[in-house]
C-alpha cells in the first residue's frame, strides 16, 4: 500500500474533524460527499440532503439500490433509522431557517474577505449554484474545502474572487491541502483571513508563498506559529 496521501485525502481527513456528535450537516457535491462515511459513522449526526432527506445512510447493497432514493449528487444512497423525507421547499426552509448546523462545500476560489465562488466559470463551465447560495446564508457554519492551488498552479485563495460569487462574506473556515484558515467576522460584518493550522509537513512560509491573499497568522500579535496539525 502506498504511503502517499493525496491532497484530497489530506483535506477530507482534516474536514472530518469539523463534524461533531449530534450535528445536522449538509455536504456539498464533489469532494465534500467523500465525508459521508464519516458523518454516517459519527454518533447522532444526521446528514441533510437538499433533495429531501434528513438522515442519509451508507451506499446501498445491490439489493437495496432504489432509483427513488438518492443524495444531492444524484448517487444512490440509503437512509438511516429515524430519517425523514420532505419536499424541496421544506428542505430549504430547514436550510434558510438556520436549522442546519454545518455546511461543508467545495470551492473554486475563496477571498480574504470570506467570499466564495464555486458555481461557474464564465464562457467555459456552467454548472449552476444548486443549493450552495442558500446554504452559505442559512447554515450556522460554512466550511469550504478545496485544493490550495489550481491545476495551473495558481493560488485559489485570493485577495478578491475573480469568478462570479456564490456568496459574499460567507465562509467561516477554509480547509486546503496546505492549511486551515478561519475567517472571523468583525463587528462591522467584515471578515479577516487567519491562518490557524498548517497541514503536516507544511511551513507557514510555504503557505505564504502559495497564497495570493494576505493573511494573519493566529497567535499574539500575529507573530507566533500556528498550531501544526498532528
Amino acid at each position: 500500500m502506498s504511503a502517499t496521501v493525496t491532497p484530497r485525502e489530506l483535506i477530507i481527513a482534516r474536514a472530518a474533524q469539523e463534524i461533531a456528535d449530534g450535528m445536522v450537516v449538509n455536504l456539498g457535491i464533489g469532494m465534500p460527499t467523500l465525508l459521508a462515511d464519516v458523518g454516517v459513522a459519527r454518533a447522532g449526526v444526521l446528514l441533510q440532503s437538499e433533495n429531501g432527506l434528513l438522515g442519509i445512510g451508507p451506499y446501498p447493497t445491490e439489493d437495496e439500490v432504489d432509483p427513488d432514493l438518492i443524495n444531492a449528487g444524484k448517487e444512490t444512497v440509503t437512509a438511516v433509522a429515524g430519517h425523514a423525507y420532505f419536499d424541496s421547499a421544506e428542505s430549504f426552509a430547514m436550510i434558510r431557517g438556520g436549522h442546519v448546523d454545518l455546511a461543508i462545500l467545495g470551492g473554486m476560489e475563496v477571498s480574504a474577505g470570506g467570499d466564495l465562488a464555486n458555481w461557474m466559470v464564465p464562457g467555459k463551465l456552467v454548472k449552476g449554484m444548486g443549493g450552495a447560495m442558500d446554504l452559505v446564508h442559512g447554515a450556522k457554519r460554512t466550511v469550504v474545502v478545496m485544493e490550495h492551488l489550481s491545476k495551473a498552479g495558481e493560488s485559489k485563495v485570493k485577495p478578491a474572487c475573480t469568478l462570479p460569487l456564490t456568496g459574499r462574506g460567507v465562509v467561516d473556515r477554509l480547509i486546503t491541502d496546505l492549511a486551515v484558515f478561519d475567517l472571523p467576522r468583525a463587528a462591522d460584518g467584515s471578515r479577516e483571513l487567519v491562518l490557524v493550522e498548517t497541514q503536516p509537513g507544511v511551513t507557514v512560509e510555504q503557505v505564504r508563498e502559495r497564497t495570493e491573499a494576505e493573511f494573519r497568522v493566529a497567535g499574539a500579535d500575529g507573530d507566533s506559529e500556528p498550531v501544526v496539525a498532528s
Binding site: S49, E50, N51, G52, L53, P58, Y59, P60, T61, E62, V65, D66, P67, D68, L69, I70, A72, G73, K74, E75, T76, V77, A79, Y85, F86, D87, S88, A89, S91, F92, I95, R96, D115, W119, M120, G123, V126, K127, G128, M129, G130, G131, A132, M133, D134, H137, G138, P164, L165, T166, G167, R168, G169, G189
Partner: protein, 236 residues
Amino acid sequence: MTTGTAGKVVASAAEAVADVRDGATLAVGGFGLCGIPQATIAALRDQGARDLTAVSNNCGVDDAGLGLLLANGQIRKMVSSYVGENKTFERLFLSGELEVELVPQGTLAERLRAGGAGIPAFYTPAGVGTPVADGKETRAFDGRDHVLEHAIVADFALVRAWKGDALGNLVYRRTARNFNPLAAAAGRVTIAEVEQLVEVGELDGDAIHTPGLYVQRVVQAPPGEKRIERRMVASR
C-alpha cells in the same frame, strides 16, 4: 378529457399533454432523473410543442428527462438551479441558442411554492452580492441584505407520483418527492403521472402529499425503467 366517474383520469400521456401549446411555461418535478415525469415528457416530445419555458431544478441528461425536449429543439428557456450533467445543455447555452435563468435551488423551490400559494414575491438572503441579485430589489432586514424574488406560476405542471387516485390526490415516494408537490401547486393545469392508480378512498388522508384540488389530469404511467444517474453500491 374524461370526466364523470373517472374524474380526472385520462387514457394516455399523449392525451394528457395534447393541448400544451407553443410558448407554454412548464413546471416540471424531479431532481436529476429521480421523480421525473418521464412518460409525459416523452409524450410532449412526440407532441412537438416548441418555444417552451421549462422550470425544473435540472434539465435531465442528454438522452433522458427534459434532455429529450432539449435535444429536440423544443425548449427556448430553462429555469434551473443545476445543469452540470448535460452536454447538450452546455453546448446550447454557451452558443446562446438556449436562454437560461440559473436560480438558487431554495429560491426556485420557494418561487414555485409561492406561485401555488398566492404569494407574489418574497425576500431571501440567497444570491445577495452575486450575479443572481443583479437588477433585483434588495432590502435589509435585521441588518442582513435580502433580495426580492418573484413567484412562478406555470401554464402546465408535469409531475410524477408513486400513488394517485381519480381525484388527483398524490403520494410521492422517498426522495422522488423533491420538486413535485411544488410544481403541482404552481401549475394552472397540473398533469400527474402515477405509478399506481388506486381507488378513491384507498389513500390515507393523513398521508397525502398533494391534495387533489391541485391536479387537473391523472394518467397511469406505463411501466418503464427508472434510470439511475449515479449508481453507487457499497462494498459491504
